[in-house]
């Protein structure tokens, strides 16, 4: 038991160690080789984050808004797809499963280049709506697969039982099916949120640089070789997902096996 804890601690340390210089960089003004510690500390990086003149606050709001919208939409689309895949045996089920995976197998970059024409035609390029729609490409498959696995272990007789207790289909969905699948839905939402949060190339292609999410700003900062700014931004990009995963693991722990590992952090 004690040895196991030590092992987990070491593992966490090894995973989090590379993040340490990032934190130091974010608050350093000057840090040149071969010094072990920065020669000069500065709050410039952190000030940049809250500076209303920089795009960073807007980027944070945009990123969060896009990621939440993508997570919600991906789960809404993934729900019926997962239900069909998990509960029913039908002709061509495997083909549908494969097609669902296709956007994950084929680089989203290639797919987006192909469908960008349509985004332009329907005036969706350079818009937030367009970015949200294009980010459904890499997220819906995951939502459908996670929910499909949950539905494969779901007994639809619960729904029949609720119906026999005088509850209509919509309320069965809200008060029986969704609560029973809550861990899987939470995992699907979390995962799709994370994918959207760190998406760069699709946002750039469809958003055309007009929709500035945090990864775009981060790449720009890295490009300008302002390490302090880039590190401060990187911390901002990393922190919310990390906090979210920690919070989710607390909520999901012990709830069920369908939480696929998220529950055991």
């Amino acid at each position: 038991m004690k040895g196991q804890r030590l092992l987990v601690g070491l593992l966490l340390f090894a995973v989090l160690l590379p993040l340490l210089p990032l934190l130091v960089w974010a608050v350093s003004g000057q840090w040149r080789y071969p010094a072990l510690f920065p020669q000069q500390l500065s709050l410039r990086g952190l000030k940049l984050l809250v500076d209303p003149k920089s795009d960073i606050l807007l980027g944070l709001v945009t990123s969060a808004g896009v990621a939440v919208a993508v997570a919600v939409l991906a789960c809404l689309i993934g729900y019926p797809a997962g239900r069909a895949l998990g509960l029913y045996r039908f002709r061509g089920r495997r083909a549908v499963q494969f097609l669902l995976l296709a956007p994950v197998i084929v680089p989203g970059f290639a797919v987006t280049l192909g469908i960008q024409v349509f985004f332009v035609r329907y005036h969706l390029s350079d818009t937030i709506l367009g970015v949200i729609l294009v980010q459904l490409l890499p997220t819906v498959p995951y939502a459908a697969i996670i929910l499909g696995a949950a539905f494969a272990n779901f007994d639809p007789d619960y729904e029949r039982q609720a119906g026999a207790l005088g509850v209509g289909p919509l309320r069965v969905l809200l008060f029986v099916t969704v609560p029973l699948l809550r861990p899987a839905i939470a995992v699907a939402a979390l995962l799709t949120f994370l994918i959207s949060w760190s998406e760069y190339i699709l946002t750039l292609l469809v958003g055309g640089g007009q929709v500035k999410t945090l990864p775009l700003l981060l790449f720009a900062a890295i490009g300008s070789s302002d390490t302090t700014a880039a590190s401060a931004l990187a911390v901002l990009v990393i922190a919310p997902p990390l906090l979210l995963v920690l919070a989710a693991s607390r909520l999901l722990s012990g709830s069920s096996g369908s939480a696929i590992g998220f529950g055991r952090l």
Binding site: R160, A164, G166, V167, L180
Partner: protein, 355 residues
């Protein structure tokens, strides 16, 4: 009252229920009995509204239910599995239907408390459903259906997964609850002993058809068909023929008056009505050889091979000395057995015979 008229249901190329017509009296406790695959659960599904019949009509108190979805039929359904919602505790499970009906909190709490007490789960109201035993789960499921005060209570083999003692307890509970509430109850089971014990009416289904409906005694004294008699434990069949109102067994000088028309027939005799008889008290006797005597708890089951090779099973008192291998005589009391048409084919789906 539940009325089914010409109800049929087909799944793919198998007909689960064909042309079923029956009345289930208001306030009755009817067992829908039959072997697995006879269509009894399908019939229950159609009464509850979870399944839609391909043909026919279903009426509750004279009102058609075909257009009424399951959630709006006044029928409570308890499945074989308890299907308690795992995200709710016992009390919340039982309150679920009332909460969905937006009954006010005070009344909901009161009705839930009363019914939980009635099914002896009052002390477990706050338990998570995962902590209940099988019998407790099924009682909670029963309470969840009954708290809605349905006009019809439908039970789909609700105790088949419980062990024998619990099953007997649950039977008593359901019987008592029915006695108190007088709610029309339809109970699906494949166990004829259970049906006989718990129900006041049995509707026997064989091969998707109604094979007779009536009081439990009827299936013992005057079974509607040979198939029905077999399902209720008739193991001895003496083939013969009917001519001019008299049945004559093929192998023995055995005669019985009958109302059946002329044709091949069978004297169906329950093993417990036969007697081992070497003293010649009975008018009708068949001679044979005892080939086996099996201990069956409350009696001995004795196999007697007759001269023509057929075997009769006779239940005898445990103290009876049975010389296996020796000649023995089987007495057939004049009240034993019932003459039935030979089972050349299933009788046509007769609606509610002997109702």
């Amino acid at each position: 009252m539940i009325t089914l008229t010409g109800v049929s249901k087909t799944f793919g190329d198998t007909t689960a229920v064909r042309d079923l017509t029956t009345d289930i009296a208001a306030g009755s406790f009817t067992a829908l009995l039959g072997p697995s695959g006879c269509g009894k659960s399908t019939t229950l599904g159609m009464i509850s509204g979870l399944l839609r019949p391909d043909a026919g009509e279903i009426l509750f108190d004279g009102r058609s239910q075909l257009a009424v979805p399951a959630e709006r039929r006044a029928a409570g359904l308890v499945f074989q599995k308890p299907l308690l919602f795992p995200h709710l505790n016992v009390e919340q499970n039982v309150a679920f239907g009332l909460r969905m009906r937006r009954l006010n909190r005070a009344q909901t709490r009161e009705r839930v408390a009363v019914i939980l007490e009635r099914v002896q789960l009052g002390a477990l109201a706050k338990r998570r459903v995962g902590e209940l035993s099988g019998g407790q789960e099924q009682r909670a499921a029963l309470a969840r259906a009954l708290v809605l005060e349905p006009r019809v209570l439908l039970l789909d083999e609700p105790f088949s997964q419980l062990d024998a003692t619990l099953r007997a307890e649950m039977r008593c509970l359901v019987k008592d609850l029915h006695h108190e509430s007088k709610v029309t109850t339809v109970f699906v089971t494949h166990d004829q002993a259970e049906a006989v014990e718990v129900a006041d009416t049995i509707a026997l289904m064989l091969g998707g058809r109604l094979a007779g409906q009536g009081k439990p005694e009827m299936f013992y004294t005057t079974p509607p068909s040979l198939a029905a008699a077999r399902f209720f434990g008739v193991t001895n069949e003496l083939p013969g023929a009917v001519r001019a109102g008299i049945f004559t067994a093929g192998t023995a000088a055995l005669r019985r008056p009958t109302m059946l028309p002329d044709g091949p027939a069978v004297l169906a005799v329950r093993p417990e009505t036969l007697v081992l008889d070497n003293s010649g008290v009975n008018d009708d006797r068949l001679d044979g050889v005892a080939t086996a005597a099996r201990f069956a708890g409350t009696h001995l089951a004795v196999d007697v091979q007759l001269a023509d090779g057929s075997v009769l099973t006779v239940h005898a008192a445990l103290s009876t000395p049975v010389p296996v291998g020796a000649s023995i005589s089987v007495g057939i009391p004049s009240a034993a057995g019932v003459v039935l048409a030979a089972a050349t084919q299933e009788p046509p789906g007769d609606g509610g015979a002997n109702g």
